[in-house]
């Protein structure tokens, strides 16, 4: 149905209304980010402690900044090859092999993207036909379902529950598979729950993915932020490699959110298709960001470890604090989010978050924003100083006592 032709009057009354008629049904079907209005409100308030944003509070290690600045001074300001700088792809290829035993060829199986966000979008566009169902392990990052819908696919949530420590349960996965199911998207360590899947957990999922001939998209942007055991890359489990797209990036581990550098790894045949889309929509990731990313791999290991150690201390302190003040919280083994339950308070997650912001000036994100399984939880990013976490806990305790 063409709304524009039907609705357009010969003399447009208001500009806004006319524009509305041009917007595609597909774009209209995408809901706005559920936390937008929330943070608009937080921005107008003074003295707010924000545990809302999924962004490290650290500055990018200086050696990374410096090498990028130097390259600009040297006049390195042009496009790079579409796939990304060869030196960066080579460094990544050895890094992935060394750290995760993940084997991707630097020439044919790695594409440098503008953040994981772009990688996610082009991966989905490369595999989804209209009507294809894509399973999404939820709670999940807010962009997964809209990206699938924008590609004409149908996002299907698979709920991860607190009783499973928010891991993906093989039985829940099996239940959601239909003949139209094309792929499964996972993200462990998980945003927003901090859940981690170990090798055994992933093997159970791998069997189902392989038996049902599905493709796996795994967003491993929090791989470096694990606090108990080292990260297991899904591509190294069973025979998943040949049907896996691995997404990762520099934002979280190296405090490089604004640099917009990520990467997509997949077997050659798939990578060629993804590269076509990347060429048309992005051309290449910004060269300054790529230079910085290369320096990150070469020399920021210790900076990264220091940040991870600090997150671990904050996690232990913050999660113990949440449990103490009466918000039951499972211990997140990765990422930098705590996901406390508010079931016992008699408030919904949205009510809780709104009132907490208004009454005690602490910003958290209601869990329902992250899809099924998120209801009655809050996402609290502990990527703020210990001092702020202590103050946030005190304010939350005051809020709870006032209920």
């Amino acid at each position: 149905m063409n709304n524009r032709k039907q609705n357009a009057s010969p003399i447009p009354s208001k500009q806004g209304e006319t524009m509305q008629n041009f917007i595609s049904e597909r774009a209209q079907s995408i809901p706005p980010s559920g936390i937008r209005k929330f943070f608009d409100l937080a921005l107008t308030m003074e003295d707010v402690i924000s545990l809302g944003v999924g962004e490290p509070d650290f500055r990018t290690p200086w050696n990374i900044c410096e090498s990028s600045i130097y390259s600009i001074e040297q006049g390195v300001t042009s496009y790079t090859p579409n796939k990304g700088l060869p030196a960066l792809r080579e460094a990544l290829s050895s890094y992935l092999k060394q750290h995760y035993n993940l084997a991707y060829d630097s020439n044919n199986e790695i594409i440098i993207t503008s953040g994981v966000s772009e990688g996610l979008d082009i991966a989905i566009r490369a595999i989804v036909d209209p009507g294809d169902q894509v399973l999404i392990a939820q709670p999940s990052y807010v962009s997964y379902a809209p990206c699938v819908a924008l590609a004409g696919g149908i996002p299907v949530p698979v709920e991860c529950t607190e009783s499973d420590k928010f891991k993906l349960n093989p039985d829940s996965l099996q239940e959601k598979i239909t003949p139209k199911t094309k792929a499964l998207m996972i993200n462990f360590p998980n945003n927003p729950t901090g859940a981690v899947m170990n090798r055994k957990d992933l093997e159970a999922i791998a069997d189902i993915v392989i038996d049902n001939d599905l493709l796996l998209i795994t967003d491993e942007v929090y791989a470096e932020l694990t606090y108990e055991e080292s990260h297991i890359a899904a591509g190294t489990v069973s025979d998943l490699w040949e049907r896996t797209i691995t997404l990762n990036g520099f934002s979280k581990a190296y405090a490089m959110t604004g640099w917009r550098v990520g990467y997509l790894c997949a077997p050659k045949e798939l990578c060629e298709t993804v590269l076509k889309i990347h060429q048309y929509v992005m051309l290449c990731a910004p060269v300054m960001g790529q230079i910085g990313a290369l320096e990150a791999i070469r020399s920021a290991e210790e900076d990264k470890n220091n940040m991870v150690n600090e997150y671990r201390l904050r996690r232990n302190m913050f999660v113990a604090g949440l449990n103490r003040i009466g918000l039951p919280t499972h211990v997140p083994e990765g990422a930098f989010y705590a996901f406390p339950s508010v079931k016992g308070t008699g408030l919904s997650d949205t009510e809780f978050a709104e009132r907490l912001l208004k009454e005690q000036r602490v910003a958290v994100v209601p869990g329902s924003v992250f899809g099924s399984g998120g209801e009655f939880h809050l996402r609290c990013a502990y990527a703020v100083s210990r001092k702020q976490l202590t103050e946030a806990l005190a304010r939350m305790e005051t809020f709870l006592n006032g209920l």
Partner: protein
Amino acid sequence: MDEKDLELLRILEDNSRLSAQEIGTMTCLTPVEAEGRIHALETSGIIRKYTTVINWEMAGNGEVSSIIELKVSPERDYGYDRIAERLSRFRQVKTLRLMTGTYDLQLLVTGKNMQEVSRFVSEHVAPMDRIRETATHIIMKSYKENGNVLFEQQEAERLPYSF
């Protein structure tokens, strides 16, 4: 010494005023365990002392600090150790190190003013046996001490974004 002890040392080096309770929560130890480990680190001499990083320039006490380089003839059987021990007894010597390179010992010396520092060097250090040469550098301004930046840094502002 294990990984936990190293973790405690890193925490204390950053902020030694945290309570055993706070440190315990962060490291998954009970306050008693944390206190016991810290006590062991103190008695073994790994933790030397708890101190404070002070920006003395800002406090405005007018003290002068200088780096003094010494060329020293080492002693048979003792090398630099005996002369270093002698030098370290002076209150004015805050830091003393044996270095590779063009000189041997490096001293950080503080005094009330330039005259005091220069008197200390010319009367006490330079005339010592086995000291062949001294070079005194006055510190004009400290920007960073032991990993702590001493100038005002602008907070990186978080820009609003919606996820």
